[in-house]
């Protein structure tokens, strides 16, 4: 068989593993360039085994992606590019893109030649993404974009953006949105870093002044942008847990590994402080022992509360995964992770403060652990906002898990132009 030339019925794990291993052993070559290697891998069908055969895949079940990834790791090979927003772009285009768009963008995303960013949030619409004000107007055979986006990770490295923009203000808000692929490197697009309260600038503000997109860069149809954006968001939520796994580059020597390391260093740079955002529970005991705070009965109680909360949250996630693995319908335990993580992060920042005492006032190399503790204290507030605020999470749990009444709305029953805005 040539590459992933198997049918679904042949696709037992052992068979897939054996096929993939045989191909990799025959073809892996660390001496070619990164892009050249990825092109070969994509041609074989083993780059994205669960994708359709027509679009670089092998039509295999989704679970086989992990099996093939294991084989790639085992042999020390490198897989397709997965870091950053490109995974959201490819998933969205696979679901909604035209053949022209798939042809033009999928392969270059997988080889790592193109970088992507997501242009959804605006200063006036955070939790309420469908309230986007950025306009796209069709003029002289082109889409012309004006407006502003914010919280755009890695826009300064991006070639393309996934853009949600308003094409009609005379219909209710969700119906007037369209979804575009926008070239970032053009005169009408200005990217400015956005500095956060922790001093990092992991995100950008992106300004559009008569930026342009050709008609063939409209994804799906005019007015269908919200449905397309929902696909992107679904994949974003699903991928949020996997972020840490993406950060690991091989430490092997050689040109192709150097290329991959450079690619990951750029892609992961914005996420350097994310562990601190989660509270760094892992540092608590070590810090408490080093400072002697471990002997204080009040601090001990707070440490114990934190550790038991963190363990309980971890066990809750394990229960959700176990239910999923058994094919049982998801229980409420699967919807609570984000909110539980906020509780853990806040409790951890509180405990780090207790442990550090007066030194919690210091940062940089005057502060504990060369400023790492200070970075925890000023990064934790992001966790309960990014990716859905705690308040939105509570609404979702109440409405979707507990079946409570939906929030009354004042924006769905009238043209968007008549809806109060920021």
């Amino acid at each position: 068989m040539n590459g992933a030339e198997m049918t679904m019925s042949d696709a037992t794990e052992a068979a897939v593993r054996a096929e993939a291993r045989a191909w990799l052993e025959a073809n892996w070559d660390p001496d070619v360039g990164l892009i050249e290697w990825r092109n070969r891998l994509i041609d074989s069908g083993w780059g994205v085994p669960s994708w359709p055969k027509r679009w670089h895949g092998g039509d295999l079940p989704a679970a086989m992606d992990a099996v093939v990834a294991e084989e790639i790791r085992r042999i020390g090979a490198i897989g397709v590019a997965r870091s950053g927003v490109r995974g959201l772009a490819t998933a969205t285009l696979l679901a909604h893109g035209s053949d022209f768009q798939k042809e033009k963008f999928l392969r270059r995303a997988l080889t790592g030649q193109d970088n992507w960013c997501q242009l959804f949030s605006e200063p006036g619409s955070g939790s309420d993404l469908a309230g986007a004000l950025t306009r796209a107007e069709f003029r002289d055979g082109r889409w012309v974009i004006n407006g502003q986006k914010v919280w755009t990770t890695s826009a300064h490295h991006a070639d393309w953006g996934l853009l949600l923009a308003r094409t009609d203000s005379n219909v209710p808000k969700h119906e007037g949105l369209s979804y575009f692929i926008l070239a970032i490197r053009q005169p009408g697009v200005e990217v400015r870093p956005l500095r956060q309260m922790n001093g990092h600038a992991s995100f950008n503000q992106v300004f559009f002044t008569d930026a342009e997109a050709p008609p063939e860069h409209l994804v799906s149809e005019i007015g269908h942008g919200w449905a397309v954006a929902t696909t992107t968001l679904m994949h974003e939520r699903r991928g949020a847990d996997g972020l840490a796994g993406l950060a690991r580059a091989s430490d092997r020597k050689g040109r192709i590994y150097d290329e991959e390391r450079a690619e990951l260093a750029i892609a992961m740079e914005p996420y350097r402080w994310y562990p601190q955002r989660a509270g760094r529970v892992d540092l608590v005991l070590e810090r408490a022992k080093a400072t002697g705070a471990i002997a204080d009965p009040v601090v001990r109680q707070e440490i114990a509360k934190l550790l038991s909360l963190a363990r309980s949250a971890e066990w809750t996630a394990r229960r959700a995964r176990a239910a999923q693995a058994q094919g049982r319908p998801p229980g409420p335990e699967g919807s609570l992770g984000k909110l539980a993580a906020s509780h853990v992060a806040r409790a951890s920042a509180h405990v780090h403060t207790l442990i550090s005492g007066a030194e919690a006032m210091l940062t940089g190399d005057d502060g504990p652990l060369d400023g790492l503790i200070a970075e925890i204290l000023v990064s934790v507030p992001a966790g309960s906002i990014a990716g859905g605020t705690d308040e939105i999470q509570r609404n979702i749990i109440a409405e979707r898990v507990l079946g409570m009444p939906k929030e009354p709305r004042g924006d769905n029953d009238r043209p968007f132009r008549d809806v109060p805005k920021n």
Binding site: Q301, I303, K305, L307, R311, T316, R318, A322, N395, L402
Partner: protein
């Protein structure tokens, strides 16, 4: 560690839930809590004749069902949910486990079968009026006398102590301190020199007694001076069971609060449509689910004989106690004025939550115990 239940365990749970819904509705709980015993023979017999619950974790060799701690904890969660009035915690969880952990083979063969059948109601008397939950708090003495022992001292907070047929007592040799010199004994409920008094308890669904021992003849259970270790293991399992029982009660309260919020109309709309109610309910769900994960982890650790079991049991006990109390307070709040009335059932669970919060040690004590078990 087991993070999901088997199909058999899920079926066992559904069967128990139906059984308790039928046999232990709030009307029955209210009738039983007004009696001095706090439970009745007919209900206890049904539980054992039909389901064999008293022997669920007792090995078949000793007349039990031979299931593990996970099944035992399923029983406790469902009992906590229905607030079942029965001497189950005293007899099956505390006394039978202590006998299993401490008794000689002959003692287990003699003592456990009637407990497993529910014919003998047993309990464990370890806590004293000082209210300490570790062995170091034991002051009751056991003095060797004519081939046996005589017990002198006072035990308090003894579950079902005034109705138990058989009492397992923790006592120490005169002059010993700490974990040294502790031994377990068995005493008949009607033994001469033993006076028993039902305590006036805040939670009327779970009765406790004050027991005074004046030269009471007692039989040694297990080895002289070997009481501390089996009691510690018994307390680990008991904390695990109580955590699961509390999670069952907390979940029931949470559901009743949600039902009420959906029904109750103010300002022309169900109060469930107010965001303050939705967010409170979401938070209640998180609290109960986290406590449930900890309780299940503790049950699984106990079933596996995991060496981390004592720490996880304490973790689960503390979290469940906090979650149950928090849920009980919120449930009364959501019910408003009606939640503070005697006729509304919420206070029955509220009182169980309060009593369970301190029974077997309060959350702060268990958190400290958890850290020490981890060597911190």
């Amino acid at each position: 560690m087991q993070f999901s239940f088997t199909t058999e365990q899920l079926e066992f749970r559904s069967m128990l839930r139906r059984f308790f819904a039928e046999h232990s509705p709030p009307a029955v709980v209210r009738r039983q809590m007004d009696t001095e015993a706090g439970w009745d023979r007919a209900g206890w017999r049904a539980l054992n004749d039909q389901l064999g619950l008293a022997g669920v974790h007792i090995p078949e060799t000793y007349g039990g069902q031979g299931f593990g701690c996970v099944e035992l904890c399923i029983v406790l969660e469902e009992m906590g949910r229905a607030l079942v009035c029965a001497p189950y915690f005293a007899s099956t969880v505390l006394a039978a486990t202590a006998i299993l952990n401490a008794g000689t083979e002959a003692q287990k063969l003699a003592l456990l079968p009637p407990i497993a059948l529910g014919e003998t109601i047993a309990t464990l008397a370890f806590t004293e009026p000082n209210g300490l939950w570790d062995s170091a708090g034991v002051e009751t003495t056991a003095t060797p006398a004519s081939g046996g022992f005589r017990l002198d001292g006072v035990k308090s907070f003894v579950l079902d102590g005034h109705t138990a047929d058989l009492i397992v007592v923790l006592a120490r040799s005169p002059g010993s301190t700490g974990d040294e010199g502790l031994s377990l004994f068995t005493v008949r409920g009607d033994a001469p020199g033993l006076t028993r008094r039902a305590l006036k308890v805040l939670d009327p669904t779970r009765k406790q007694a004050w027991l005074e021992f004046h030269g009471v003849e007692a039989r040694l259970l297990g080895e002289v001076g070997g009481g501390a270790e089996p009691v510690a293991r018994t307390m680990t399992l008991a904390a695990t069971c109580l955590a699961n029982e509390m999670v069952g009660g907390a979940e029931r309260l949470r559901e009743s609060a949600l039902d009420y919020a959906n029904l109750r109309v103010q300002f022309g709309r169900p109060i469930a449509s107010f965001q303050s109610m939705k967010h409170k309910q979401a938070d209640m769900l998180v609290e109960v689910q986290l406590a449930r994960s900890a309780a299940y982890a503790a049950a699984s650790a106990a079933a596996d004989g995991d060496e981390d079991s004592p720490a996880i049991a304490s973790l689960a006990k503390a979290r469940a106690a906090d979650a149950y109390m928090r849920t009980a307070i919120d449930t009364i709040q959501i019910h408003g004025g009606v939640g503070f009335t005697w006729d509304n059932d919420t206070h029955l669970w509220f009182k169980r939550a309060k009593s369970s919060e301190v029974f077997l040690g309060d959350p702060a004590w268990h958190r400290e115990r958890m850290l020490r078990a981890w060597g911190v």
